[in-house]
Symmetry: C2
Subunit: 267 residues, 2 copies
């Protein structure tokens, strides 16, 4: 049945599983196919042209698997490939992981918005430019926090290591008196509670994975594509290169044991 | 004058500056040319074939600059390209960053040797295999410590962050009762004192950057190539891609302000 087709979700690696997790929690009846391009991770260091090519290749695979929507669960691919994929697949809703957070901020009571992200995302200025374009009255500050992603991958979330790194980064003078902080990397939801506790109740912490899941729900409802199944959705997890390290990290990011299947996509 | 020609030193990035620093401290009269292939860093994820090509290209540049010796200040290139460079440049002494530590261990009173390194170096097993080949009676254990390099680059050496990460890694059961621990990554000398303090006086901590400098001194003395200059050596620092982040990290690794020059090498 048309509505019960899976959702396609992709990322350069396994970080996008935080988006898959948010989707599984918000839309438990939806089936999905996740593709993590671990062979080419991270995308952050690659050219926009290369990221577009990889994203097109993965999206063709997901569409060939009969996906009814595509979620770009990767900041670099969201910045570099979203327009291209919309042009390539005009009949399928495509959600990226940046615009839902931008839209939320632009319509909220925000005054000063901070973005923490990898060095590549900060360099791209994608959040800052889109937020300023949507609402010129907002102050927007970016801060690269490059240790957070490897720290999370190494299992140091919730330890003295994450506490020390967060204190160092979040005490930066540029991040004083924030109204909102966007977690601009798919890894960071694993530090959401620690970050919120550190910043206190006056700062709203925006989890872009959850906001992307909500945006997906909205567009599926609007296009009458929400699953009608009464059972839990079926989920498959592909990676372009499978290693024990990815399996371990995948479990941490999705919050439960999952089986990764290796899948090589031809160019 | 023949003896006063520079030494060529190269690495995939700026981590090899710890080796350059050790050379500058041990052999202050020597001039050197450092080349950090930041455009292609890190080498750890690349194939041996690719690492050899990059290493050959850089070595041709260094030899064209009239270098009297080449130091491979990079674990990945030492493992993948040393034999090739020895064949390519039979008339120039070539030092890698692995064998001096292996030789030291094989001739010492070691009983159980630990190696901490990046995931790529651990996967290559290069230290473990060479140490076992040199002395079959030694117990050799490897432990990947992937957070240490980014942690050092981000300036967290000597903080609660490094303390927490080191405690986690070094308390691993496989590293109990070591006689020696090899710092198998060019970044790790910046944590040498912390690691030595953590492990206590019973464990010898081997800094492979310092051992490589000593090996260089030995071969230059043996070939009668030590500088006869009474002045401090001249030093130049090239990188294939220059960014503000590299400049900052370079200062930290070399221990003093240095001027990086961008140099693109054609293939």
């Amino acid at each position: 049945m048309e509505k019960n087709r899976p959702i396609g979700i992709f990322d350069s690696g396994v970080g996008g599983l935080t988006v898959a997790k948010a989707i599984a929690e918000l839309l438990p009846a939806e089936s999905f196919i996740y593709f993590g391009d671990t062979r080419h991770a991270p995308y952050g260091d690659k050219s926009s042209h290369t990221i577009r090519e990889y994203s097109q290749r993965i999206s063709r695979f997901l569409v060939a698997q009969n996906c009814k929507a595509i979620v770009i669960a990767c900041n670099s691919a969201s910045a570099a490939a979203y327009q291209q994929l919309c042009a390539d697949f005009p009949n399928i809703p495509i959600i990226n992981v940046i615009d839902p957070a931008v839209k939320y901020i632009a319509q909220s009571e925000a005054s000063k918005v901070g973005i923490i992200a990898t060095r590549a995302t900060v360099r791209s200025k994608v959040y800052a430019q889109r937020i300023s374009a949507a609402n010129q009255n907002l102050t927007v500050v970016q801060k690269a926090t490059p240790l957070l992603a490897p720290l999370i991958e190494e299992g140091f979330a919730g330890t003295d290591v994450s506490k020390g790194a967060l204190a160092h980064y979040l005490n930066h003078s540029s991040l004083k008196k924030l109204s909102d902080l966007i977690l601009g990397c798919t890894h960071y939801p694993l530090l959401e509670e620690e970050i919120a506790a550190f910043l206190g109740p006056k700062v709203r912490v925006l989890n872009s994975a959850k906001l992307a899941a909500q945006a997906l729900q909205g567009v599926l409802a609007w296009q009458d594509l929400l699953s009608t199944s009464v059972d839990a959705g079926k989920r498959r997890f592909y990676v372009s290169e499978k290693t024990p390290a990815f399996t371990k990290i995948a479990k941490m990011f999705f919050g439960q044991e999952i089986r990764l299947e290796e899948k090589f996509l031809k160019s």
